[in-house]
């Protein structure tokens, strides 16, 4: 984990060993902690997915009892969303935002330490519920009442764990916004920021706006269960459907929280390996902002089947379809960036291109789900499972992996093994499709999600999906080995690492000093996304 070399000038009173990591306020250390936390949770959540896929290898009940199966689907989702994707992006934000905008550190370093260290406790609490009387939460990660109120002893622990996760991400988001607004290097105007910074700024606002709503919703569940309130209890004048509205008012912006930073990552990687500036920089910014805005007015497309007036269904259908427009702008911009570029296909670029293709497939199935009358057939089937796994696994997760390959030489000072990187890429891409593509077919044929058993005719596709899942899972062990090997040694990385890399982080040494940009770089004037010349300019100035 020694991604940073000790710097004698600054380290004189810095604790070493484990205390260094517990007390650290350094954005690079905290970024590393977040990324490792996310990586560990990725294997835990992945293990749960393999339990699900093992049970679904054959029809009938084989290995686990239905209650445990349901708690696996629930926990897999909670771990992957709150424990893997969100912390990974926060880790990338910690590592990269100060480097990209020329800041010394995050704006609020002490709070930064807090927001990370809450997480291991939150997840220890969440995972411990699996061993409690009545088992872990098994009503789905959406926590719909009244089903979720039947959770056993685990219930209050689940709610408090979600509160902690929420607090952690709100604090992380506040830190990101404060850093971006106040700590940019002189001359770094908002419209000169790298897109990763832009997408994170917008994501952070989304987090601040919706995580408290989730906190409110789960608090209502808690008081309904223990303090005789009737928010969702029809006998007391409440309405269970209200919870679904509150949950998805959080839940839909949440899915953009999970994807917007990946758009930033891809927008960094594609220009580097196409050796061309990003096509349509400002349209990318506006598209991101439009997606964020639209995400607040589409939530009820998750609940077409609960019953809604026709006008409501039409509104939510059309608003949802509208999101395809800014998303399409992004995809076309990436493609235009590659158009006639001098492309090379290093591992980060491969993951980025796979992201564009496979995320778009997930986007299209999302459009199909948006069609209200069709949604009545797709609702709660494996088609939905296929859709959101396409946007989250070869979407968010591939973007995170691409980001790790892209910046790992910068972080560690060593080049990774291109052979193992490419092996990891091809195995992941092939197996991810073997896993999730057949789910479209069984879903359209009517296989419901979150059920441990299925009708015989779904067997073939389920067996294919299970084989794919194990292949994908084992491929990630290559990734783990590669990351550890790269941290330990390897060919020395140059400062710029990639021939076409642009941005302030590449003007620093690889690995960067523990405290970087103690004197802010000056990026006044020449910095221009359209001339693609700024790396040299900034490098000679600073």
């Amino acid at each position: 984990m020694s991604t940073t070399t000790a710097d004698e000038h600054h380290d004189d009173h810095h604790p070493s060993g484990i205390m260094r990591w517990i007390t650290t306020t350094n954005h690079k250390d905290i970024g590393t902690l977040y990324l490792w936390f996310s990586f560990i949770m990725f294997f835990i959540g992945g293990f749960m997915a393999l339990i699900i896929r093992t049970e679904l290898f054959e029809p009938g009940m084989q290995f686990v009892d239905p209650q445990f199966f349901n708690s696996m689907t629930t926990m897999h989702a909670i771990v992957m969303i709150f424990g893997v994707v969100m912390p990974a992006f926060t880790g990338l934000a910690n590592w990269l935002i100060p480097l990209m905008i020329g800041a010394t550190d995050m704006a609020l370093p002490r709070m930064n330490n807090w927001s990370f260290w809450i997480l291991p406790f939150a997840f220890a609490m969440m995972l411990s519920t699996l061993f409690m009387d009545g088992g872990g939460p098994a009503g789905g990660w959406t926590l719909y009442p009244p089903l979720v109120l039947q959770t056993g002893d685990a219930f209050p622990f689940v709610i408090f764990a979600i509160h902690f996760m929420g607090m952690s991400s709100i604090m992380g988001a506040i830190n990101v916004v404060a850093t971006i607004l106040n700590m940019r290097a002189p001359g770094m105007t908002l419209m000169k920021m790298p897109l990763f910074v832009w997408t994170w700024l917008i994501t952070a606002y989304l987090l601040i706006a919706v995580m408290p709503v989730l906190a409110g919703g789960v608090t209502m569940l808690l008081t309904d269960k223990f303090f005789e309130t009737s928010f969702f209890n029809a006998a007391g004048g409440g309405d269970p459907v209200l919870f679904q509205h509150i949950f998805w008012f959080f839940g839909h912006p949440e899915v953009y929280i999970l994807i917007l930073p990946s758009f930033g990552v891809i927008s960094s990687i594609i220009p580097t390996f196409a050796r061309k500036p990003l096509f349509g920089y400002s349209s990318m910014v506006y598209a991101t902002a439009s997606i964020a805005f639209l995400s607040f007015i589409v939530w009820a497309h998750h609940m077409f089947t609960v019953g809604m007036p026709l006008a409501g269904e039409l509104f939510f259908m059309l608003a949802t379809m509208l999101i395809a427009v800014p998303t399409g702008v992004k995809v076309f911009n990436w493609v235009c960036t590659m158009w006639r570029g001098a492309m090379t296909f290093e591992t980060p670029m491969l993951f980025a291109i796979a992201f564009i293709i496979l995320f778009t497939i997930g986007g299209f199935s999302g459009l199909m789900l948006a069609i209200t009358p069709a949604d009545f057939q797709y609702h709660d089937t494996y088609f939905v499972v296929a859709h959101f796994h396409y946007v989250l696994v070869p979407g968010s997760i591939f973007a995170i992996i691409a980001a790790v390959y892209y910046w790992l030489p910068k972080w560690t000072g060593h080049m990774y093994s291109e052979f193992w990187g490419k092996t990891h890429f091809w195995l992941s891409t092939i197996f991810v499709n073997i896993t999730f593509f057949p789910m479209h077919f069984v879903g359209l044929a009517g296989m419901p999600r979150r059920i441990p058993d299925y009708a015989l005719q779904f067997s073939d596709y389920n067996q294919i999906a299970t084989i794919g899942a194990f292949g994908f899972g084992f491929a990630q062990i290559i990734f783990l080995g590669l990351v550890i090997a790269t941290i330990r040694g390897g060919v020395k990385a140059t400062d710029r690492v990639w021939e076409g890399a642009e941005g302030l982080e590449w003007t620093l040494s690889s690995p960067p000093p523990y405290h970087s940009f103690t004197t802010p770089p000056n990026v006044k004037g020449e910095w221009n996304w359209f001339t693609h010349q700024h790396y040299e300019t900034v490098k000679t100035r600073s």
Partner: protein, 186 residues
């Protein structure tokens, strides 16, 4: 710089806390929306006192009203309508009954929650007398006949030919200091 950071952070914390409040504000907003649209079949509350003045009876239209009874999970009562459906004319008041029997060995308090389908009918289905306005205390083994008086507003949209009135009985023996529960919007 440090001051600017603190300022940004405190502003953003205020936003976060306000959004927590907004989550709670969604509760009355949702009720309001349901009242306006008839969403979720929440029908008009019309008690005897505020009974609407003379609707003209529309003999030319006949609407089928269906009665459906449900028991919430764990509710050990028998609950049936006197008749499964009846033909009514809009504007005229009708009476029907429901029967409920406490099959258990202990006294229990039940609360019926009504729902009207389709939504377009919810705001036009008026109950002037209903056991759902209060909860019921039934001794062990006790049976009760409960009347409902209702009428359909002649303004009911043309395309609605059938209206379903559904009741779900909830066990409220252990809730709310019982423990008269005041249902405001049912």
């Amino acid at each position: 710089m440090i001051n600017a950071n603190r300022k940004s952070a405190s502003k953003l914390f205020v936003v976060a806390i306000a959004m927590f409040g907004f989550g709670y504000a969604l509760v009355p907003l949702y009720d309001l929306l349901c009242d306006i649209t008839g969403l979720n079949g929440k029908s008009d509350t019309v008690t005897q006192q505020q009974q609407p003045v003379d609707f003209t009876v529309d003999e030319s239209r006949t609407i089928t009203v269906e009665f459906v009874t449900n028991l919430n999970q764990g509710m050990a009562w028998d609950f049936k309508p006197e008749i499964a459906k009846m033909q009514v004319h809009p504007g005229k008041a009708y009476q029907t009954s429901f029967f409920v029997n406490n099959k258990t060995m202990r006294s229990m308090v039940g609360q019926a929650v009504p729902s009207v389908a389709p939504y377009a009918a919810a705001n036009h289905f008026i109950k002037t007398e209903c056991f759902c306005f209060t909860d019921q205390l039934l001794e062990a083994g006790e049976t009760m006949e409960m009347p409902v008086v209702f009428l359909i507003n002649p303004a009911l949209p043309e395309h609605v030919k059938t209206v379903t009135l559904s009741y779900t009985y909830f066990d409220v023996s252990n809730t709310a200091d019982n423990k008269m529960i005041n249902l405001k919007t049912i």
